[in-house]
């Protein structure tokens, strides 16, 4: 007896050709709806239900050919352009740490498990989020944004004193790197409310500023506000809050308020006398002989004497080459998060300086190019938030290295270079952000948006 041509049998045959299981329900759902329309049309032409279904299936074409074609289109997106730079950066991170601590008696007992644990934790967070369906963040976006913000402000709860060591380590120092991600979720949740939604986002984006300044957590303030401004600009440019021109005025207002907040932070930072920053810059250039000024002069001397390849030349004022060499080694041995690139430049020249940043440059280039191709609003927003965070981190770090930034340094430090600087929490948070980015890119071809623009990945064909 010939096999009966049913819609279900047809869909099963198509699905069997598609190797990526997560893509199957999405494809089958659309074909099923089409087949049902076609079946109803045949039924209206006075065919029996069975006959109408058979004709609809025949009209569709060969299921194997259709499935094979769709399989070619719907594959998980290759993530090598992100994975390889991440692994290279982590190798440099580990290599740098091992070099600095080589020969230390407790390297194997203390540092090795600590670094290994950090890397396992960072990669674990990245892989976990990579395989997570990122559209879950869009189910309750305001709740997710609120939880992230609460975690940032719950930093005192995350302070731990490590056994056998007297200092307290804060696991929450770099959680503020997640704030642009929270902002992206807020934009996603409130975009349907038009200009009122945008106004609410502006308020939410500024809300943490005052308590932050009051608590003295300055270092993450300006990058967060800049990333938020960029996300709001993206949303208005894309028309997600509607096309009103007044939306641009609101964003301009937000940018001005953000600038005001940064100035307020500077005022607080300098004890109510922002001009003291200018004094600090002036004194540094004037060459007063305290340690801070000395080290800044040293930075400038190194920058002006750096070579293309190899260790920096000795400045004229120095008379003892051995002492110069010792200084170069010293800076490499003790470089942590804020002077790591600078130590590489001093010891390995400009090529070394560029080489250690090459993986991040590739990652950001691949990331931004892929981000522009995201059609789902949630995916575009989350990918932009992650990439903005990493881009600002890298850019701020390079600016700091290149200029010394003198009196401004207090605002920027400790601001880690993503995936390279010392500091386990920053590494784990950055890797978690990369996991979200990978999840967005990985599933871009199967994410769908419902009639209200909410992202989802179809799980069943019903």
């Amino acid at each position: 007896m010939p096999e009966r041509k049913t819609i279900q049998a047809y869909l099963t045959a198509v699905e069997e050709q598609i190797r990526w299981k997560r893509a199957r329900p999405m494809v089958a759902l659309e074909l099923k709806r089409h087949l049902e329309d076609q079946r109803d049309a045949f039924a209206e032409e006075e065919n029996s239900p069975e006959e109408a279904e058979r004709l609809a299936v025949e009209e569709m074409g060969d299921p194997v050919t259709v499935g094979t074609e769709l399989d070619r289109i719907h594959r998980p997106r290759s993530a090598w352009g992100i994975f390889v730079p991440v692994m290279l950066s982590l190798a440099v991170w580990l290599g740098f740490r091992v070099y600095q601590h080589w020969g230390v008696s407790y390297l194997a007992d203390y540092y090795a498990p600590r670094w290994g644990g950090t890397i396992v934790l960072a990669l674990g967070a990245m892989v976990l989020l990579y395989f997570l369906d990122y559209t879950l963040f869009g189910k309750r976006p305001l709740l997710a944004a609120g939880l992230v913000t609460a975690a940032v402000f719950g930093r005192p709860l995350l302070e731990v004193t490590l056994p056998s060591f007297s200092y307290t380590h804060s696991l929450g120092d770099y959680l503020p790197l997640l704030l642009p991600f929270a902002m992206a979720l807020a934009i996603y949740a409130l975009r349907e409310k038009g200009t009122r939604g945008l106004a609410a986002c502006c308020v939410l984006g500024l809300a943490p500023t005052l308590p932050w300044i009051a608590l003295g957590w300055m270092q993450m303030l300006w990058p967060t506000l800049l990333c938020n401004t960029a996300l709001l600009m993206l949303a208005v440019k894309s028309g997600w809050f509607g096309g009103q021109k007044r939306n641009w005025l609101l964003v301009a207002g937000y940018a001005l308020a953000a600038l005001g907040a940064i100035l307020l932070a500077l005022t607080v930072l300098t004890g109510g006398a922002p001009h003291s920053l200018i004094d600090a810059v002036w004194r540094a250039q004037g060459g007063k002989d305290d340690y801070a000024v000395y080290s800044k002069r040293f930075v400038r001397e190194l920058l002006s004497n750096a070579r293309l390849v190899g260790a920096a030349d000795m400045p004229k004022e120095w008379e003892n080459p051995a002492q110069w060499q010792e200084s170069l080694h010293w800076i490499l041995d003790f470089a942590h998060y804020d002077d790591m690139l600078f130590a590489v430049l001093a010891n390995f020249g400009w090529l070394g300086f560029l080489a250690v940043q090459a993986p991040m440059a590739v990652l950001l280039a691949v990331g931004w190019r892929t981000c522009r191709r995201q059609t789902a609003v949630l995916g575009r927003l989350l990918a932009s938030a992650v990439l903005l965070t990493l881009t600002w981190q890298a850019a701020a770090y390079v600016v700091q290295t290149m200029t010394g930034l003198l009196g401004w340094k207090a605002l920027l430090t400790p601001f880690p270079y993503p995936l390279l600087s010392d500091g386990g929490t920053a590494l784990v948070v950055d890797c978690a952000l990369l996991g979200i980015l990978l999840s967005v890119f990985h599933s871009s071809s199967i994410v769908r948006e419902d009639s209200r623009g909410r992202a989802f990945i179809p799980r069943k064909t019903a």
């Binding site: 494809v27 659309e30 074909l31 709806r33 089409h34 087949l35 329309d37 076609q38 009209e59 569709m60 074409g61 060969d62 299921p63 050919t65 259709v66 074609e69 769709l70 070619r72 289109i73 719907h74 191709r373 059609t375 071809s445 769908r448 948006e449 419902d450 009639s451 623009g453």
Partner: protein
């Protein structure tokens, strides 16, 4: 009139993009519209249409969203993007040049003969 398959397949992307130029549509609607506009000449198989639509979406020439069709049935609507509009104009120009050249050849060169 039955058309040769190869004649149709090469221009299918052009026809689909053109259908979306005057409004968003879902797959079944496109097939019906194509039949109507071509006086029943083009019978596009759904099995050909959907891979094509998904590939156009992949290239960013169309985007898709869930909308409601008649009787509140959810359907996946396709929308022509800016890039899709530009690709459509390019394909149209290239098709017109091709059709014009074929026409001249079929006329036996009469159009181009010297006086």
């Amino acid at each position: 009139m039955e058309l040769e398959k190869s004649l149709v397949s090469g221009s299918m992307a052009l026809l689909v993009l053109k259908l979306l130029e005057d409004g968003d549509k879902y797959g079944y609607q496109m097939i019906e519209e194509l039949k109507r506009r071509s006086d029943d000449t083009f019978h596009l198989k759904a099995g050909t249409l959907y891979p094509l639509l998904h590939s156009l979406e992949e290239k960013g020439l169309v985007t898709a969203y869930e909308g409601e069709a008649a009787a509140g049935k959810p359907r996946r609507y396709y929308h022509l993007t800016k890039e899709g509009g530009a690709a459509l104009r390019e394909k149209e120009a290239s098709w017109n040049a091709y059709a014009h050249a074929v026409g001249r050849v079929l006329k036996g060169g009469a159009c181009c003969a010297r006086a």
